[in-house]
């Protein structure tokens, strides 16, 4: 993304328009990424419920994956995935 010059920005350091949080890619400093094993996932949605960044993707009652643009790699999803299932593992991000 090309960064704007000072002449192109709205004054007062405001962000115009809403919602704009999706435009802020919070996933660029993640050190670990959650990886879902769909052979094990029961689609219980506990990970979806607990994710602090709304980064677990779901569609028609089924878990679909992770929004890696916004996932910060906190690992809460892997932690709350029931011990008998353990469908989510945290893997090191390659630099």
């Amino acid at each position: 993304m090309k960064l704007k010059s000072w002449k192109e920005l709205p004054e007062g350091a405001i962000i115009p328009g809403a919602p704009n949080s999706p435009e802020f890619k919070t996933g660029d400093w993640r050190t670990e990424r959650p990886v879902i094993n769909f052979d094990k996932c029961t689609h219980c949605h506990l990970c979806w419920l607990y994710c602090p960044d709304s980064s677990i993707l779901t569609e028609n009652g089924k878990i679909k994956g992770v929004d890696y643009d916004h996932c910060k790699g906190c690992g809460i999803c892997a932690e709350v995935c029931p011990p008998s299932i353990k469908a989510i593992t945290m893997e090191k991000e390659e630099v």
Binding site: W6, G12, A13, I14, I15, G17, N20
Partner: protein, 395 residues
């Protein structure tokens, strides 16, 4: 109203300031009392209680809260004013930068008072000199009449460039001294200042905005560059608005600087605020004796009038700069340093010395003014002087 006809009122500086605020009729005033500025908002609160203004008056628990409430109201599109002094201004320090960075045209009265310790309630410029780099326009007024007109102009200036402005009057010397003030009718003030047109408005639900988000290495610098552009533009806007004000009402308020008997001056003194009045009297006496001496009063110091300083002082043989504040740098007072910087690349650079005087409200009297002029004259005649001297202190 016929140009040049005023309603003459006998007012103290604080009363004049509060009266201007009444005529401005701001949407919100949030304040906390502190000597010597207390009266400004105290008198104003009576206007509120009597229903003479429409203002929402927010009495808060500290100056930090006062300016924070002002910031909150200002991002909501309101016209906002406050007033303080000394420790109160120091407590606002953090929020001053926020008001400027968010580009909020808050106008603040400051009755200049020194800072503790030792504790002292009287007038010097230590408080507002500490706010030099906070991003506020700074206007130092010479008397109650100028303070009155400066507040009204400051509203227009601040709201045009979207920067906050502080308008100063010397604590007690001006804030509590009564003089004749040439006031304007309410409707003329209202017409001159018009309506505030904010850059953005938090209550504009059709156009939502996020105010004050995190701004890191990728954009912070660009926003600061924008803020500086506003200060660069303020130069032109201040000249235009001051001219329009004087043309409309027949007043004679200088914009950035007031040259006094400088035309053929061989040596000159630079001063701010009420000390300039004392110096003018003594300069008149010296002129009668045939001495070619003059004064340059700096009225607005942010943005700093380096072009005017260069224009008026270049070619003068010796200049002395008065500071009613210390920088504790050992390099002299703040105005000495800035005037020197402005003159560094002048074609005919004068010899310059500085004077720190009047700390803690010590009277600046005739004797001191005579000493100052004598020393500048000595400098002109080739005598070596220190970087700066202390005037009126017991050795």
């Amino acid at each position: 109203m016929e140009k040049g006809t005023f309603i003459k009122m006998a007012l103290t500086g604080n009363e004049a300031y509060a009266y201007a605020m009444k005529q401005i009729n701001p949407d919100v005033v949030a304040a906390y009392p502190i000597t010597p500025a207390t009266e400004i908002v105290q008198i104003f609160s009576k206007y509120v209680a009597n229903g003479e203004v429409d203002t929402e008056f927010i009495p808060v628990e500290s100056e930090h809260s006062a300016l924070s409430a002002c910031v909150g109201a200002s991002v909501g599109g309101a016209r906002v004013m406050t007033g303080t002094s000394s420790q109160g201004l120091a407590l606002m320090h953090e929020i001053q930068y926020i008001a400027a960075g968010l580009r909020l045209p808050i106008v603040m009265a400051v009755a200049n008072r020194t800072l503790s310790a030792p504790i002292n309630i009287h007038g010097d410029h230590s408080d507002t000199m500490g706010s030099r780099d906070s991003g506020w326009i700074q206007i130092y007024t010479e008397n109650a009449n100028e303070a009155y007109h400066s507040v009204i102009m400051a509203i227009k200036i601040a709201e045009t460039v979207n920067l906050p402005a502080m308008v100063m009057l010397d604590g007690f010397i001006i804030s509590h001294e009564m003089e004749v003030v040439n006031t304007l009718p309410d409707e003329e003030v209202k017409k001159f200042i018009g309506e505030r047109k904010p850059l953005y408005n938090l209550f504009d639900f059709e156009n939502p905005v996020t105010v004050g988000p995190l701004d890191l290495q990728d954009y912070y610098f660009e926003h600061k560059r924008q803020q500086m552009e506003a200060m660069f533009n303020a130069k032109k806007v201040i000249l235009e608005i001051t001219k329009k004000y004087n043309d409309t009402f027949g007043t004679d308020i200088p914009a950035f600087v007031e040259p006094y008997r400088l035309d053929d001056a061989e040596y000159a003194v630079v001063a701010l605020s009420s000390a300039a009045s004392t110096l003018k009297e003594i300069i008149d006496e010296w002129r009668e004796k045939g001495e070619k001496v003059g004064l340059l009063r700096l009225r607005i110091t942010r943005p700093f009038p380096y072009e005017e300083v260069k224009k008026y002082l270049s070619g003068i043989k010796a200049v002395g700069v008065m500071d009613r504040a210390e920088t504790h740098s050992t390099l002299g007072g703040p105005m000495l340093q800035e005037v020197k910087a402005a003159l560094y690349d002048a074609e005919k650079r004068p010899k310059i010395t500085g004077f720190v005087f009047g700390l803690g409200g010590r009277d600046f009297d005739d004797e001191q003014a005579n000493t100052v002029l004598s020393m500048i004259k000595d400098l002109k005649d080739g005598k070596e002087l220190p970087l700066y001297s202390f005037i009126g202190v017991r050795e």
